[in-house]
Amino acid sequence: MQMHKYARSILLASAMVWVAGCASTGGNSAGQVDNEAKPVEVITEEEVVVMPVIDPAVQAVIDTGKISASAEEIEGLLQQNEYHFPFDSSELKDRDYQALDVQAAYLTSSRGAAEKIVIEGHTDERGTRTYNLALGERRANAVKRYLVLKGVAADRIEVISYGFERPVDPAHNETAWAQNRRAIIVRGN
């Protein structure tokens, strides 16, 4: 993931150099020929240094000043958008709160403040279909309540319960059930 992002940034940076080069050399107007391409190279070098390490979303979280953790840790927690529950429970665990703090920081950051999110609640296939529909919503609401507590406006959050209609793993065993008992934050809606 990290390597991939780094490579992409280099590509982007070299593309910028190339575009900049085209603009300056291929220009038809005589007035632009005065200064040659030298300062352009300096700017692109700066880009290469800043972009490869930090994801803008991670940077946005850091900029809020609400989270004291390394960029790597924040990146990991920002990706942790799925929270798991015990049977017939909608209680979040300690490590979920850590991730949710970062999610909330992002959603209240300059970058994430306009985003709307959907929180999906799911259950395993045990118990009744109709009770699980309520349980799924409760799980999603547990996540929603915490985000709201942390300053995310409630009207930006949509909650949908699927009960056990949409399992991640349709198998009928403990591993599958544990995977399926979840609430997920879906961003970018």
Partner: protein
């Protein structure tokens, strides 16, 4: 990570299908042909896959031996259905009777003077049913049937029933009802019907759902509603003419009422959050259901004449799955207010303006184990059926609680059972269970002695519900 990506893109994939047709430059003729083929193949598939075939998984040792002679017919050609065969099958599936195999019948009497009691007695048969079909003007079939007590050597029931060829199966079920009641003293439930949902997973993104109804023996299935989104918790109106159910549209659940004769569908509730588990009041004037408004799920009742909505519970816990007591004065529901899902009873009072209020606090009825849900009250109001969690991780089974004696009995032992429903005569229960590959339906007699399975050829069958007595 890749999982969440596919989840986000799934809605786009499902709606993208229509575009294939409109973009393609297919000539009108070819399109017509294609549609015709598609239509035919889907119809053929539907007809083949929807029918549920009952399999007896546990029989009753004390089943009463009976003989059903093939009904006499002197008319031309074949009759629309093998009426005596349907009656024999009904009685066999009740678990209380053991009809003699057709090839073991020594004679085929169709009139009283043709019956030789000694022959039937030798075969160990306790009762004999005979019948005769005739065709009357206007294409009306008349069936005269007669039931004999072989041991006492006398006729105990003689009756006649008439109808069109299309009503043949229904007429046969009526005869089964009469015979069953005459011998056992309990009204038969063979003329009743079942509603159920099928779900066929076409791909990771797409499942096709259908709401169907069929005769209680699984025959004559008819799809009344189909959707690409989930359908659940169907409920019959007390007169059997309408169905209320939950259907999702654009990922949102709504409660609908559909008229079975006209097919007309009406939206009853689509509030924010969950709209679930509609249940008709015994007098048919009200619908109880659960609404969450995106927050706490509570029990509500809507009066269908005045449209008045009343809130019956107000609790931060889950209150779900309402169901009426037969006297209409109380509602049974599931709540985890005590820390685990259990069944509660709430007394209610209705006013003439359609509003309903709770009287007193809900009373907890179940204490056995840590999960008892989706309760239904028996027609006599004396027992409850529910989904009960046993010791094993997948042990969710059908259990019955006698409200007077507090006796609690687990009736079944397959995996992941759900959605129990009582037959109108209170003798049988239908429920959903997880088969080896698919969800299937099970039927169990209330005494636990008979168990049947109704597996589907393809896809899951779930959410069964037994109709009231249909006249």
């Amino acid at each position: 990570m890749s999982r969440s990506i596919s989840r986000i893109t799934s809605p786009r994939n499902t709606t993208g299908e229509m575009a294939v047709f409109s973009q393609g430059r297919i000539s009108a003729w070819f399109t017509m042909l294609l549609l015709a083929v598609l239509c035919w193949s889907s119809m053929a598939r539907a007809a083949g896959s929807e029918e549920l075939v009952i399999r007896i998984t546990q029989g009753n040792d004390r089943a009463v031996p009976v003989a059903i002679a093939p009904f006499g017919w002197k008319g031309r050609g074949l009759l629309p259905e093998d009426m005596s065969g349907i009656v024999a099958n009904d009685l066999r599936l009740s678990g209380m009777f053991d009809p003699l195999a057709k090839n073991k019948l020594l004679s085929f009497p169709s009139r009283e003077d043709e019956v030789v009691f000694g022959d039937w007695r030798k075969q160990g048969v306790n009762y004999l049913l005979i019948g005769e079909v005739s065709l009357e003007p206007g294409n009306v079939y008349r069936v005269n049937f007669q039931l004999f007590d072989v041991l006492r050597q006398r006729s105990i029931l003689q009756s006649t029933i008439a109808g069109s060829g299309a009503q043949f199966r229904g007429m046969a079920h009526r005869i089964s009802d009469r015979v069953f009641e005459k011998i056992t003293g309990i009204p038969g439930a063979f003329s009743s019907r079942i509603l159920y949902v099928t779900a066929q997973r076409q791909s990771e993104q797409r499942t096709d759902y259908q709401l169907n109804y069929a005769d209680a023996d699984g025959f004559r299935p008819q799809t009344i509603f189909r959707s690409k989104e989930a359908i659940l918790s169907p409920s019959w109106s007390p007169d059997g003419t309408k169905v209320a159910y939950v259907a999702y549209e654009n990922k949102r659940p709504g409660i609908y009422i559909q008229d079975l004769r006209t097919g007309k569908r009406q939206l009853v509730s689509k509030e924010k959050g969950i709209n679930s588990s509609p249940s008709w009041s015994p007098d048919g004037t009200k619908l109880a259901y659960m609404l969450s408004f995106g927050d706490n799920p509570n029990i509500f009742v809507r009066d269908l004449r005045t449209n008045k909505l009343s809130q019956l519970t107000r609790h931060f816990a889950i209150d779900a799955e309402p169901s009426w007591f037969p006297d209409g004065k109380s509602i049974l529901f599931t709540s985890n207010r005590g820390g685990s899902a259990q069944l509660y009873k709430l007394n209610i009072k209705a006013s003439s303006d359609g509003s309903v209020v709770a009287e007193g606090k809900p009373e907890r009825l179940t204490y056995e184990g840590r999960f008892n849900a989706r309760g239904k009250v028996f027609p006599d109001g004396k027992s409850l059926v529910m989904v009960h969690k046993g010791k094993g991780a997948a042990d969710f089974n059908i259990a019955v609680l006698d409200l007077d004696t507090k006796r609690f009995r687990k009736l079944t032992s397959t995996r992941l059972e759900d959605s129990p429903s009582v037959s109108p005569n209170g003798r049988m229960l239908i429920y959903a269970t997880q088969g080896r590959e698919h969800g299937e339906l099970g039927i169990v007699s209330v005494d636990g002695s008979v168990q049947l399975k109704l597996p589907s050829a393809a896809g899951d069958v779930r959410e069964p519900v037994w109709s009231p007595v249909i006249q």
